[in-house]
């Protein structure tokens, strides 16, 4: 039964999901290969850049000091944008910074660091190599094909990211419908530390994370982001594919209008664009997870659909890390038992369900439906701006109290009271 193998485990992809799986297994003494198509790990990867650190600190207790993190987030803002106004909820809190809850990262650097950690515990990282497909033997997955080479292992880990071509190519995952994916477009804009500190009211290594909805995407779901790095800004759009194509959206032109929007332009003034990239984001939530364990194969991270977008935060990296931890646990058990079947690997599924990943995916299962609501991307921003306009635009008319102002604005708005109450309840149950 014990066929010849080159490695105990072969991991496809050196993003956070793959790297953490490999690191845990190699550290436990297993022989592990990580195959990465990028010339260097990270060179194909892109994210908005806020990494919630709770999971990765379990693996690397000194993550904040050892890893290439940019800034520690101390300020979060949600901004409703209209063509000629905006309303922001701006939250700054020293506690977030002190705890190192979330940091900004740039993936070309972070993933390189993760690969080094894998190598330090004995994993073999093979960059610049694309896996083309899976080797099957006796009805189970038994290795990978990469160019001319065929490599065999007891277990293969598909950690190949959002397109999940490995599992899809093997007929193990369907192609997701456009409403379960969003196009992320991002620029990195160089600015000095002093300007960033002044412009975003930050000191030292503090960082800011701004989420925007509304006119910045021309009303297309789901939003825009702007995050501070040490000496640059990461900013971009997340455009749900069904909505983008329904509106015949020209994504490149949308991006240009985003950079020129009255709220965004002053924040990047004087900066220099040093990179322009795009990448898909999972938007389907729990509904797109599917089966994650097969005979000889497990699927982790984005490849498994593990992302949560609530409009306030996009989370994928911490879930990728969490799934890597759970997968390593399940695979370790399978290797101990010498049972690499789906049943033998089921420990991964169980560990994932019990972990924060499984629980949070469940908690936010209704978020994708909530995010489909178009009032979020237009009417509510306008409504809020009209209320504040009534408050601050002192003219000769006698003043009214805010409640009566709000009632008047609501009467004039396309939003009905019933919408408002319903959406409020939906927000409370979904987010």
């Amino acid at each position: 039964m014990s066929a010849e193998v080159d490695f105990d485990v072969i991991v496809i992809g050196c993003g956070p999901a793959g790297a953490i799986t490999a690191y845990q297994l190699a550290k436990a003494g297993r022989s592990v290969a990580v195959i990465e198509r990028g010339e260097t790990p990270g060179s194909k990867n892109l994210s908005g850049g806020i990494m919630y650190c709770h999971a990765i600190k379990q693996v690397f207790p000194n993550f904040l000091t050892d890893a290439p993190v940019e800034r520690l987030i101390s300020r979060n803002a949600l901004v409703f944008t209209n063509p000629s106004s905006h309303v922001a909820i701006d939250y700054g809190d020293d506690r977030l910074h002190a705890a190192g809850t979330a940091v900004t990262v740039l993936r070309a650097r972070l993933d390189g660091w993760l690969a080094e950690q894998c190598e330090a515990v004995g994993a073999m990282v093979m960059p610049g190599l694309r896996v083309d497909g899976l080797v099957r033997a006796g009805g189970r997955v038994a290795g990978v094909v990469a160019g001319e080479d065929e490599l065999r292992s007891h277990v293969v880990v598909a950690a190949d990211g959002v397109n999940s071509f490995i599992a899809r190519g093997a007929g193990l995952r369907p192609k997701p419908p456009p409403e379960q994916l969003a196009l992320g477009i991002k620029a990195v804009v160089k600015l000095s530390q002093e300007i960033i500190a002044d412009r975003f009211q930050l000191s030292g290594d503090q960082g800011a994370a701004l989420a925007m909805v509304g006119a910045v995407t021309d009303g297309i779901a789901s939003g825009a982001f702007l995050y501070t790095n040490r000496e640059s800004l990461s900013l971009g759009l997340v455009l749900r594919l069904d909505d983008l194509t329904a509106q015949g959206g020209d994504s490149s032109a949308l991006f240009e209008r985003f950079l020129a929007h009255r709220f965004v332009a002053p924040l990047i003034e004087g900066g220099r664009l040093i990179e322009y990239g795009s990448h898909l984001v999972n938007e389907g939530g729990q509904a797109m997870i599917g089966n994650l364990v097969f005979d000889g194969l497990v699927i982790v991270g984005d490849a498994a659909g593990l992302t949560i977008n609530t409009g306030l935060t996009v989370r994928g990296m911490d879930l990728a890390v969490g799934s890597g931890i759970a997968a390593a646990r399940g695979i370790e058990r399978a290797l101990e038992a010498g049972d690499y079947s789906a049943g033998g690997l089921d420990g991964y599924r169980l560990a994932l369900a019990e972990s924060f990943v499984g629980r949070d995916m469940k908690t936010f299962a209704k978020a994708p439906r909530f995010m489909e609501n178009h009032r979020l991307y237009g009417d509510y921003g306008a409504l809020l701006a009209d209320i504040f306009h009534g408050v601050y635009n002192l003219d000769l008319a006698p003043r009214r109290r805010m409640v009566s102002l709000g009632r008047q604005v609501l009467r004039d708005s396309p939003v009905s009271l019933r919408d408002l109450v319903g959406d409020g309840l939906r927000a409370v149950t979904a987010l």
């Binding site: 194909k44 740039l106 610049g128 196009l183 490149s252 795009s278």
Partner: protein, 95 residues
């Protein structure tokens, strides 16, 4: 910051071009008939696709950012798209 065209934005990136093997092939007739052509021309953030003078879809595959959006919105049979092999394609230095 001055508004940059997509070409100017892409010029900031590093690309390693695979001159031998394009990683994108459009099946012209079906792509046009299904509306896929118009869809991918609009949606691609790198403007890899455009209408050529002869009415076909031109493909500037060297500018591809490898997101997979075009494939995700393409009708079955209209587009062959895979990651470039080995070290080719876009090389993010920031990410």
């Amino acid at each position: 910051m001055k508004t940059l065209t997509v070409t100017e934005r892409l010029a900031a990136n590093r690309f390693v071009l695979d001159e031998e093997q394009p990683h994108i092939v459009v099946h012209q007739e079906l792509a046009k008939a299904t509306g896929t052509a118009a869809r991918i021309i609009a949606a691609c953030p790198a403007k890899v696709y455009s209408w050529a003078a002869d009415g076909s879809v031109a493909v500037e595959y060297a500018a591809c950012l490898e997101c997979g959006t075009c494939l995700a919105i393409a009708d079955p049979g209209t587009l062959e798209w895979h990651y470039p092999s080995g070290p080719y394609g876009v090389q993010f230095r920031e990410g």
